[in-house]
Symmetry: D2
Subunit: 399 residues, 4 copies
């Protein structure tokens, strides 16, 4: 299905060559200030044609609110959001349509549906993510106003150039005794802003690494090839208590959200795959008083989530993106009918998707946190009307 | 919530010290042979006390079908499944209850619910996974009978000992020109059976690596510590066309399922994080005729899913498990009230969860595929009653 | 939420004074011929200004497909549907805004959301039903092409003039011995077409009754008052086996659907409330051979559904609509602040909604049946891949 | 599916002859006192064998909490509830199994599933309602503690003897000028308690009518026949603002819930079908100050819901139950193979279900209101963290 979320829910529509793309956002709290100008900035960060690192197509992607607001405030009713497709004619038949493009959705869509959109994948077009980003900005605006939540994603890997592993490697040499695998990386995610991220078009906040990444992307572009990359995201000031114990653990929802972004191949949270190499003694995040009657953890290998539930520490995770399948190189591959041949793709494409994926990752993170906030609010507001549990039941209530 | 799936759906219940744990399975096709003996083998692979590598507790975990079958066949109605908890008294108050255990769910549950189960996490107990495994075996039985689907998981990493990376490294030296990052690893997952996996209690099919892994686990156990690990899983003969284009891509559902298993920190499919280091030319999976009127891919960096939809190739993925948080070492950590102290955990625990996690990963994989099969059957059966699309509409129907 | 259905699902958006109203339809089978011309006829039957019996406003309500089709065929992807609102300026403040209108949603919306749309209810406007009707036509088109399903609704009551009770009363005198409470009424629903229904603007197929109904509506209109009414609907050639045994019985879904239409106060299926006055002997629908290896029932007091599941007989039900709350008469009622006063509503309104409700009832019926078809197809297609149940198990399989 | 509710959700399992029946309740607020003694009273009101008016079978129906509580308080985790089936052997083959019982689910289940439970309907057995009642008591307990909600159902019709219409008819003579169609009926539902209802085994609070109803039931029983009936339910002190504007109007959810109870044929709320006979002027519920800064309505033809949202007045509705299909009279009806014959049912059955249906109606009402409370709490708690809407925006916020 094309819906995401339980209480704050987005439903998207649109292919690459239809009249418009967009979404309906259900469950937005009423009385929140909201106009197109709140949504457009992330739309613009996502759109193509921003720099020489992205596809040269230049689409405006102006979002229009169809419903759900009046006088600049939300009504609590569904918010319809739409972006016109500038070229909405179905694609003309051409020689390349004889071939399912390698590592694209052409073949699987045809097998799934029995028909396929004229432009190949259609629904698998990156334009499908417009609705996600639009909806995500609304979630994000609420989270910021209500809880001060900050969500910042950035490019941490392009091809073989990985920012995080470099920082972690250096850090590992200094901090083996503490079991802290975070160090300088953690200082970075503690402070980083979208302004920092956007200071370079590759959207990597480490300027030395950014230069190498740009060189890598340009090199792939010049050879008509493409490269993969990694996006890291941090969520700061997330309320404590979000997520459900069993199937809907907060990290499971984040994984679902991130792995639903086109071209993703992996997700890891906190210590991630590297955490499997540690011992429990090294990996455990010990508690200390936070000075306000609560607790915080000394380290944060857990990535801000324990037992599937947010603990108030920074939530951080990494998302792997494969190299774009569309390349301008001849490929030996079969036609739909099984005949071997040479597919000669021509045209414009992104040599690397991660710079443009940054706002998409942020949007999906916002959608997950927003829905979890509303579900937890349903519970906590309901509890407040009950008589308190007797204090002598220490086993179930330690204070 | 404690439900998973849309049409084939499991809902679980149970904490570590309640009367029973179990689940309700909705949507199972009627008329399928099913008795407890179909379910018990995976329950037994999951239960504790199987070898010196796991916790010495010895629970029988006998599953009882409550409803939904008669004379050994499913009726199509909800299947109630139950396992008695042998010790179902609430836990007595003790000194250690003053402390939220580091990297456990004690603290987050208390903040989420305002109360906590006597034994700490309660619902976060590994006993919660019993219902998943029971439900998964039913899904798996259908998938095998109806489509011949084979799901096999195995341990590919324990601490710093990683089977896959070793195989991949060796392979990479031989196959750089082909862009095939799979090689011997791929030969392994093409043939591996559960019997192969269970030939060693560590459940790593590479016998040399298995020996090192066992040494590692025993060493951690003797120092009262624990270690992390990785489980790899392959799904063979998966029907083509499963998964939805947008939010419910098949890999997104698999990621959700796997990241909902306790102690998981990462998920990657196909080429995964390593795939980000490749170029598009290397990474693309070119098509060739499969000799039966369809297509197959030469390589399988996609991991059997393209555009969110299964393509008939093997689906394979890796799941990262952190080191168990329960260790028998003194830990400097704060009490619930913020006072610093030393938590001295005593008792029995798993030094490494991955051998027992193998059937849980298989169960969750089966649940994802089963639900996707039924959703796709809803569509494909509905299409069959429509008149065919006119053949001249080549753009939307190439044959 | 603003979504309806599990597999074939519609999500609507729009208030009375926003830019557009519309919906997203998920789950439509791919490869079905579909253009705006399939949708528009029911839109036009729903729109205001059709006759002197409805509100004199004259809106075109031209539907535009935004996505999900190409070359006139569905792609299987979400279908975006939109109708522009011709007057989309928020309503100006006026004296009447001091009053919550009696039996309108003004007061409850304000208490629910804390804000309210400028025009009062906003989302409670009848324009919200545009998305339902548009989505319903798509469901209906599939059902007709795939199964020959026929859905026809008509007006059976206006104020105190009730067509069905008159027919039933006459019939009851003739057929008391058979327990058949249907008789001439049943002959009517067995044959009735939309053309029959539309032969009179009041949409009552019994011409004598229609005259009286029109007189009643005109009389209420002239006194600036309004009147209630009843819509009866029949679904013919519904596939057998639709609906779920427990919470999602087919009649429960139909009741949910119908009672979600604005202004409805009651729903009854088959013998309905009158059926409570019968004995089991009179009410039971006995079986006879249908001549094709199956069974049919002699009577149909069940209304085509037994145990929550369709049995292949005609499904028929009645829906009660209250008199429209908007009247052009002075009403003594309190302001928002509790002050007593006189609300003097002026303007245009429907004196009776049932003629325009006919296509809305049909649309909601189509949405329910379509979703049930797809869910049942998921099951029945899945069963077909299993080995048959052994024939000696007579208790579970009588043939 | 066998689940009901979004946030507070019950999933049931069990047929008539399986080991146990029961349910899982998800989403219950933590920290609420709850033991079996809270649940058992309604279970006992539902069970058979209570009086000569019900089936003479005598089952204990003792409920056991499996999980989700400790020391008598809820943990916030899923609550497993189970009742052992005392006779859980599959039914032996007999002559009557050649026949699908008229107006039972035997035929439709067989066509739906391809198999059928040994006892006929199996899942359609009234034992399926045990899980509903158990879950409903938990919802009800919360609603009472948190909001003082009172839910009372009673029998208002048995065969041709209808309590409400009699009261309404008398009342109508006195109150035609006010447009109040409630009168004495409304006084009754304003005060009625479960004690009042249970003062007579027929569960009709009007003692004169109760005598006639008992005579009617006994007469039907003695002739081995059965009779239909009507249950009326009132919900008092329901919070304002529950329900959703579009598809999930509160009355639509109530209709869904009630029409999912076995043997129901109709649902009406407030003025119901009779309301269609009124004019808008008569039917509109005018507002007056409630003396506490809010508003109340002078009449309550709306039945406590306006625009799909509760307005704080009493919610009241009626549910029609057909005569039980199981009768001990010979019936001329076809066998599964189409052969005509005589089905001679023998054994014990309820001559009228409405006395036992009373707690089932109450349970389903509680489940609907509870889920709506939690969904509304999600919204209202979320709104509280936003800055207030500027007061000059009078059009969207009149105070």
């Amino acid at each position: 299905m094309s819906s995401f979320g339980e209480i704050f829910r987005v439903t998207t529509y649109g292919e690459s060559h239809c009249k418009s793309v967009g979404c309906i956002v259900e469950g937005c709290p009423p009385g929140m200030a909201l106009t197109e100008s709140d949504i457009q900035p992330q739309m613009s960060r996502r759109r193509p044609g921003q720099s020489k690192l992205t596809t040269p197509r230049n689409e405006k992607d102006q979002v229009q609110i169809q419903s759900g607001t009046e006088y600049g405030y939300t009504l609590g009713t569904p918010i319809g959001l739409m972006v016109q497709n500038e070229d909405h004619r179905p694609h003309d038949y051409s020689e390349t349509d004889l071939y399912p493009r390698p590592s694209h959705a052409d073949w699987t869509y045809l097998k799934k549906y029995g028909v396929k959109a004229s432009s190949g994948g259609g629904r698998s077009s990156a334009r499908e993510t417009i609705g996600r980003v639009a909806a995500g900005t609304i979630a994000e605006k609420y989270l910021k106003e209500a809880y001060g939540v900050e969500i910042v994603a950035f490019v941490s890997g392009v091809g073989k150039i990985e920012m995080e592993s470099q920082i972690r490697q250096r850090e590992a040499e200094d901090t083996t005794s503490s079991g802290d695998i975070n160090g300088k990386f953690y200082q970075l995610i503690d402070k980083i802003t979208r302004e920092d991220v956007d200071s370079d078009p590759v959207r990597c906040p480490d300027s030395e690494t950014a230069v190498k990444m740009k060189d890598e992307i340009v090199a792939r572009k010049e050879e008509n090839n493409s490269t993969g990359g990694i996006v890291t995201c941090v969520i700061r000031k997330c309320p404590i208590g979000l997520g459900e114990p069993c199937f809907d653990k907060l990290e499971a929802k984040l994984a679902h959200a991130m792995m639903s972004i086109p071209a993703t191949k992996g997700f890891e949270i906190g210590s991630g795959f590297e955490g499997t190499r540690f011992t429990g003694r090294e990996h455990n995040d010990k508690f200390v008083s936070d000075g306000n009657g609560g607790l915080k953890t000394v380290t944060n290998n857990s990535g801000g989530i324990q037992g599937g539930i947010s603990n108030g520490e920074h939530i951080y995770f990494r998302v792997a993106f494969k190299p774009p399948a569309t390349i301008s190189l001849d490929q030996n591959t079969a036609q739909y009918d099984g005949t071997d041949g040479v597919l000669a793709t021509r045209g414009r494409h992104d040599p690397c998707v991660v710079p443009r994926a940054v706002p998409i990752v942020e949007a999906m993170a916002a959608l997950v946190i927003m829905d979890a906030v509303m579900i937890q609010n349903a519970r906590s507001a309901s509890v407040q009307r009950l008589a308190p549990v007797p204090s002598e039941l220490k086993a179930i209530k330690p204070f």
